[in-house]
């Protein structure tokens, strides 16, 4: 079941005109921002499929830029997002891609500054709901059936144990867990599907772990 809450159907409250092309785009942008952890100096947005064909009319570009600046779907500043980004000194590039993707509403976002870069691929599946299918080249194997937590961490011993200890303390049951890494000792990613609702307190505690660089919940 991809949609779990009645508020996935009656909601979100948002700026028009399209839940998948505007609100979904804002949420993909916001997710990228959360995973990057700070305001980027530049952002490259690539749109595929229906996103590429119709983004101007739907405000997909401004919504995603708004999301990257941490705006919510109902933030009226979305309409002026390009100008606000310019004022904040964020350089934005937009590409319309021709490649065919599995989902018609697909976007690739690259964010960066002098301290680092991050890349993710998100899809907007309807009604404002989104999925992240790739992060920094890691394919995410989320079923979409359970709430999930993404933990970006350093690849070293004890990281998995530290994260699972926090989860156990919060009485969270892990349904599925993947650990993948770019290279030995470099950045790694844990994808954890859980059965229970994810509270913000849990995320805060995970973020405080020394091995952990970023935490976000993804399909709750």
């Amino acid at each position: 079941m991809k949609y779990k809450s009645v508020f996935d159907i009656i909601g979100p409250v948002m700026i028009g005109p399209s839940s998948s092309h505007t609100a979904g785009a804002a949420r993909i942008g916001k997710m990228a921002r959360e995973l990057f952890g700070r305001e980027p100096e530049w952002a490259n947005l690539s749109f595929y499929g229906s996103f590429a064909k119709t983004y101007k009319g739907h405000g997909t570009d401004v919504a995603m830029i708004g999301g990257i600046m941490d705006f919510e779907t109902d933030d009226e500043r979305i309409i002026e997002a390009k100008k606000i980004a310019r004022d904040r000194g964020i350089r934005i590039k937009i590409r319309e891609e021709e490649a065919l993707t599995d989902h018609p509403n697909t976007a690739r976002i690259k964010l960066g500054d002098k301290d680092g870069e991050m890349e993710l691929v998100g899809i907007s599946i309807g009604g404002g709901k989104i999925e992240i299918i790739e992060l920094n080249g890691f394919e995410l194997s989320l079923t979409g059936h359970h709430p999930a937590i993404l933990v970006v961490h350093e690849d070293r011993f004890g990281a998995v144990a530290a994260v699972s200890t926090v989860l156990a303390r919060h009485k969270m049951n892990i349904g599925k867990m993947d650990v993948s890494r770019q290279d030995v000792g470099k950045m790694a990613l844990m994808t954890i599907e859980v059965d229970q609702h994810i509270e913000d307190a849990l995320l805060t505690e995970l973020k405080a772990l020394p091995e952990v660089t970023q935490v976000t919940k993804i399909t709750d």
Binding site: I10, T54, G57, G126, G128
Partner: protein, 295 residues
């Protein structure tokens, strides 16, 4: 947790509850929330809907200039007393248009189930309330019942125009509204399902072909007709009319039609009304390019 309409209706029947009760209880369980918290969130959504309709009825214009002002025209026509299809029906139509005109103008709306189809559920709710005089709680229940049916469609088919055509957006919205009207008017859970089935059957095959890729033409008028469809289907179900094809099978048919629909007719602005000479002309005018330069 209910997976389809048959289970939803069965749950309501077995426990002698309304569809809205089943949705409210499931939400409390899944999100680990109290009844009050769940109602509070829905109350905020209802307020957004009320403000959008109010704004639309005063008259708005979209940035492209393609839409806006029709809700006002319809209200004026109702006031003239000359309407043929009836004041309540046309009131639902005008309020659906009002919401969708606000959406097209990049105003604040509540997606029900999507932004492109955000007019139908509030449009019918705010029209029917003049006849049925619901309490605030009953209005919130209207939204929970809509949500229950939308939940089934979203999980078993699609509510996205890009994935399943406009049948998945305005079609779903109209079905959701029909079921909610039926419950508010005192219909049984089974009658709610019949209203949903009758509505969705008559929206099957509806393509998503927005002119210039904007959620304006024909989206605003499709919300109008979705509202009308929902009102008539609710009346039919309340009269005792049933759908020969069960609601879940109609939803499944909608999903399969969506799967076989060409990409040109799924929100890409490559086919249908978007590809008509006038559609192309409007697109060129709005985005400032000459037609012969567009490949």
């Amino acid at each position: 947790m209910f997976r389809n309409v048959a289970e939803l209706v069965e749950l309501a029947k077995t426990h002698n509850k309304k569809i809205s009760d089943i949705m409210i209880e499931q939400e409390m369980e899944v999100r680990n929330k109290t009844r009050e918290e769940v109602f509070d969130t829905m109350d905020k959504n209802l307020t957004v809907m009320e403000e959008a309709v109010e704004r639309g009825l005063k008259g708005v214009k979209s940035h492209s200039g393609l839409t806006g002002g029709d809700a006002v025209l319809i209200q004026n026509y109702i006031a003239s007393g000359k309407s043929l299809s009836g004041e309540l029906l046309l009131d639902a139509v005008s309020k659906a248009v009002a919401t969708n005109e606000v959406n097209a103008a990049m105003g604040t709306i509540c997606a029900t189930p999507t932004a492109g189809s955000a007019g139908v559920v509030p449009g019918t709710l705010f029209a029917v309330q003049n006849k049925l005089n619901p309490t605030r709680e009953e209005k919130l229940r209207f939204l929970f019942t809509s949500g229950a049916f939308g939940f089934v469609v979203a999980n078993n088919a699609s509510i996205s125009g890009a994935a399943g055509g406009c049948q998945a957006e305005v079609g779903s919205a109209a079905g959701m509204a029909a079921a909610a009207i039926t419950e508010m008017a005192g219909g049984t859970p089974a009658q709610c399902a019949e209203a949903m089935a009758i509505t969705l059957k008559n929206m099957l095959g509806l393509v998503c072909d927005p002119v210039a890729g904007l959620v304006e033409v024909p989206c605003v008028k499709r919300n109008a007709m979705g509202a009308a469809n929902a009102m008539v289907a609710a009346d039919m179900a309340l009269a005792g009319v049933t759908s020969r094809i069960p609601c879940d099978e109609v939803i499944d048919a909608m999903y399969k039609i969506g799967q076989t629909m060409p990409v040109a007719l799924r929100e890409t602005a490559q086919g249908g009304l978007a590809a008509t000479p006038t559609g192309r002309e409007l697109e060129a005018k709005i985005f400032g390019f000459s037609l012969d330069k567009k490949s």
